[in-house]
Amino acid sequence: MLYSIYYLFGMKALDEQWPSLQYNQVVLCVNANDKNALIECYQKVQNGHPNLSFCLCLSETSKVDSECMNLIISYFFFTGYSQPSGVPVVVLENKSQKGFETFRDALQKSAGKQGFKKIKIIEKKAVGNIVDEYTAAETDKIKYDYKQALKSPVEKSFFIAVSNSSEVTAIEAMLQEVEVAFAAENRTVYNMQMENKTLRENVELLQHRLAVAEQEINHMASHLTVLRSKSQAGSLQQYYNNEYEVLPRWYKQFGHVLKVLRGNRTFRSLFDKAAKKI
């Protein structure tokens, strides 16, 4: 689908099974300040939905302490956590611009220390009467707004609060229908928009792969540098010469007999070079 639909779930929804969403996104809504809720949600995802593809929507982001911050970042390590091209996606509720920016910066800094160079923050406004969110019951409004969004070149995110999987299925089907109808009426425009979206995603992916390949080349180069500089084969040879080669022949031969007696060498190999030694 052209635009991203984010289905907002509360933790209670994790008590039932969910369909896998091909195009859109399950978003788990959690209070960023509530340590117990963050842990409970974590356990529910792992124990009940280990293959769930999802991202987090965080509310109450003022005064989040380091413990909660690490709890939030621990979700990024789920294999199903939404990370297109290695960039974790987080929806942040914006109740105040200053609070939003403060938390966003703190989250990016903490995530950076865990190796996430970038995070994709999606802002969901929740200021006064301006709430950037639909309820599942507002199907007519969703349908109309989605149709309008398809006509606009500006990318829009849709947040729809749902409480069960059948609501998701119904909305998915409805929006698919709207998009197919739009595509049929505006074939050229739709195709160009889809191609633009695909190209943008491919560019991000290729940039990510390039960065990873460059990193691998640097790793290999540093390994080679170490191998060449220390000349480990040379030091191994020197060790062998100093510890073994200097010993008299009779002593070495006695050592081979000892090996046979201890079971570290076969008896036959003392007389036959072709025989197996061990």
Binding site: Q43, T79, K113, Q114, G115, V212, H219, S222, H223, Q232
Partner: protein, 250 residues
């Protein structure tokens, strides 16, 4: 009849080859186990194999597997960083096992004897050694860690004769910060060992694994200069010995 030990394996995978590792676990484990398996999302090997798609890591085909917990992390802190991601998951899931087995797919590409080193370290996971490991723990309550005897070192005897991890300001600062005062500087080089789970649970309940990981270096950090990552290769064992427990070899 003695109840079989409950164990969790914390395995960090950088080089891919998941099928063979799952085969290894299925073949070698002799008791029920939880498998915590960390992969590096931005490892070249993994991206090459998976083409960035979330290919599910296969499940080891054994009735002894209790639960498979997969994590996908960034390349921070090498294998120690990966094991801390898994330790974090282990604590959050509240499993409370008897023993943990820390492993990773070591290759040591910069060492000429990398393959030999890997074999020495990994043999503690093989079935021929497992019962002996459990017996050691049961017969001697003072044992905290069991590792391959070839891997047990003492930092005072290190071949490079450097003080990076004996009395440098880095190591002294870390020891003080985390309240770690080992009686000796004995540790397991390569960080693959069996450990009584409670010893690490108690430490990491006080010092969050991810908070420690946040101090680690990114990428393929080498140990020619002191690093937090390599300091924790020692400190992870010293956490155990400073609680009065011993490291024994097998």
């Amino acid at each position: 009849m003695q109840k079989p030990a409950s164990i969790s394996i914390l395995f960090h995978n950088y080089y891919g080859d998941d099928h063979n590792w799952m085969q290894f676990f299925a073949n070698e484990l002799t008791v029920p186990f939880h498998l915590f398996y960390n992969v590096i999302g931005n490892s070249y090997k993994r991206i090459k194999e998976e083409n960035e798609k979330a290919v599910p890591v296969p499940t080891p085909f054994t009735p002894l597997l209790q639960q498979k917990i997969i994590r996908r992390s960034t390349n921070v802190g090498k294998d120690i960083g990966g094991k801390l991601v898994l330790m974090d998951a282990y604590l959050k899931l509240n499993l409370k096992c008897d023993y943990l087995l820390l492993l990773h797919d070591k290759q040591s590409l910069h060492q000429h004897n990398g393959q030999q080193w890997k074999s020495n370290l990994l043999r503690i996971a093989e079935k021929t050694y497992q019962q002996k490991v459990f017996e050691m723990f049961l017969k001697n309550p003072s044992i905290g860690i069991v590792a391959s005897s070839n891997a047990i070192r003492n930092e005072w005897d290190n071949e490079q004769k450097k003080n990076h991890y004996t009395n440098s300001s880095l190591i002294e600062t870390l020891k003080k910060k985390y309240g770690i005062q080992p009686p000796t500087l004995q540790f397991v080089a390569g960080t693959m060992f069996w450990v009584r789970a409670a010893l690490l649970e108690s430490f990491f309940s006080n010092y969050a694994p991810l908070a420690i990981r946040a101090t680690f270096e990114e990428g393929n950090v080498m140990d020619d200069a002191p690093t937090n990552t390599h300091a924790w290769e020692r400190l992870l064992c010293w956490v155990v010995t400073s609680q009065g427990y011993q490291i024994k070899g097998i």
